[in-house]
Symmetry: none
Subunit: 197 residues, 4 copies
DNA sequence: AATGAATGAGCCTTCATTCAT
DNA sequence: AATGAATGAAGGCTCATTCAT
């Protein structure tokens, strides 16, 4: 009995395996055989579904991006005020689904690889733009445009900064601490400007 | 043309070449032959002086670390007040010698690789600790201990965050902008606490 | 042409090729490419099936050992008397399947390599022990224990000695001559003791 | 002050170093750098004095051969009767100067290498011939020609056999045991023929 | 749909050897 | 007399990729 409709299942399994393996090793220098093995299939099958290794890597990153995007979307929908929108964007980046050691490691690996691969860089820019616009959607009502821009940039840098710094820590990353420090900054800035929350 | 005393020259040339090549490619996945070729020597010579590839990589990172350390030292000596110390530490990380595309790329590559290599991780932790203590040396006189700790952590994250974000930009990184945003945060926080500058 | 179930065929072909090449060159310093080429496959495939070069070498030696072991077993089963057992053990070591130039050369190469490789040494000791016990199974009924031990040791030394000496000869080794000289010694010793054949 | 007359000293030191290193590693696969290092000089100097590596190896073997030859000569001169000559030849091969682990290992390595190198094979044949004629000089007066030939060949095989077998043992080789077993054979054979000692 | 078989290309590393000093 | 400097050549090994089944 020929198995039909396996394609989406296999693709998903391979992408999950890629995240797991890349996360564990903290590098894109993992082999196709490792990824395929983790997914329980042969490396030939991985090529069958994704073509070259780079394509699987890209698909994996796209998956991460999509997941983050939908998480952000959900969080933003639940926000009632502009200030809550800002908090939601920050929180989602440190949510248990995102801020796991393996995901963090994978993100960093992608950042580095992006310098060689225009396609990966393009994808990361998509993410950066979206993060920026998500933040701005909350900040614009609270601050003058220029200050909002600055603040969005600073928050984004802090998020990435905590990601990269946690990568050095052993053990579980401390999401709550990171959120607290960023929120602290947001509060301070908004208070200083007598913002209309 | 003298043929003696080449060792230090070659070692230095190879490390410089390593930074250049790693920086260009944004990855430690460069070949010994590339690095050696850039330095104008054979790959065999690189092995002769450094042993394995990993050793050259480590030496390169140590070099970067040392350079940053001495830059920081110099900058700190010139600072007259605690507040100036904080500014000096921030500034040095974005000085023209440090915040160049190739150096930035190399740093990121090291961060990622650190997850696989305990030795590289150790080196990065040294850097992190030093950055922290340098910042604290300026913050302690200005803030209560706990707040100083938090602030040091936040500043460090912002520095790393701007590094990683600049890696995505094409063209020259904007050091001044990054400094301004971080300084802005520092000012805000110190003002808010009515600190004794 | 079937493309499945190649593994045992390839493994065997590679081991045979290894014996041939090592035999020709009289040294383990042959390249994987040479062995693989002789077997008609790429060196990558040799690594695929055996891992490292050392593993192929070990497998090859194990093969030689196994073959000698089964030859000896067959020969011993055909022996009717203790005296015939002794003769069988001697004969089998100089049988056309064992006492060929390439096999001899391979054995010597293994002996030498054994001094560096504990694993090879272990394997050679297995062979030595088996030869000893095979000889003893025939000698014990014919001689007092101590004399039997001595004789077994001497015969073993003569076998190895003729092997190493034949390695220097050009052309076909003279198996019959070696057997005759060893048998001569056995006869002499047994006669001298008035043994019960 | 220029050092003069260093050549013979250096050559000797390098040959001794070669024996030591080859003996330790039990293989000719040692590097020129290792040998030179053991002799306390640079590898370039080894090339200066010996040319290629093969030349040093040959010189080393020639040295071993010469030493054994002069040992044998001395021993033979002290022998009063033909029977003593036979004993002397046997004994000299197991004397403390010859039957040391490192010398044994070196000999075996040479035997194996001889299969690749005509020059080394030639040297080993010289040794074999000399051993044979030394033995014959004692056996001819004691036995008919044909029997003497056979016996010389057998003794030679036993000597080489004990060498190769000792290579597998750990620890100090047992010279006395080997001599006893060979002498035992000699006695037996001579007694059996009612020889005229 | 899936895989074992197979390989070419490339990289790290070693080492004998040469040369200028 | 002696050596540090330097390299070409080669080998082991890995890995993405293809192909026939």
């Amino acid at each position: 009995m020929p198995k039909v409709g396996m394609e989406p299942l296999r693709r998903r399994a391979l992408i999950d395996a890629a995240i797991a393996v890349i996360g564990e090793r903290g590098s894109l220098g993992v082999t196709m055989a490792e990824i395929a093995g983790r997914a329980g299939v042969s490396s030939a099958l991985a090529h069958h579904y994704f073509g070259a290794k780079g394509d699987l890597i890209q698909a994996t990153m796209r998956h991460l991006l999509t997941e983050l995007g939908s998480d952000a979307c959900t969080a933003l929908r639940a926000a009632r005020t502009p200030r809550e929108r800002v908090g939601a964007v920050i929180a989602v980046n440190f949510s248990p689904t995102q801020f796991r050691p393996e995901t963090i490691a994978a993100w960093l690996a992608f950042y580095v690889e992006a310098q060689q691969s225009p396609e990966l860089r393009r994808l990361l820019k998509v993410y950066a733009r979206r993060l920026h616009s998500d933040l701005m959607s909350g900040l614009i009502p609270l601050l003058p445009r220029v200050e909002a821009e600055h603040m969005a940039e600073t928050i984004a840098a802090m998020i990435d900064g905590f990601y990269i710094r946690r990568a050095l820590r052993d053990g579980t990353p401390n999401a709550a601490g990171a959120i607290a420090l960023i929120e602290d900054f947001v509060e301070l800035r908004l208070a200083g400007l007598g913002s209309r929350r």
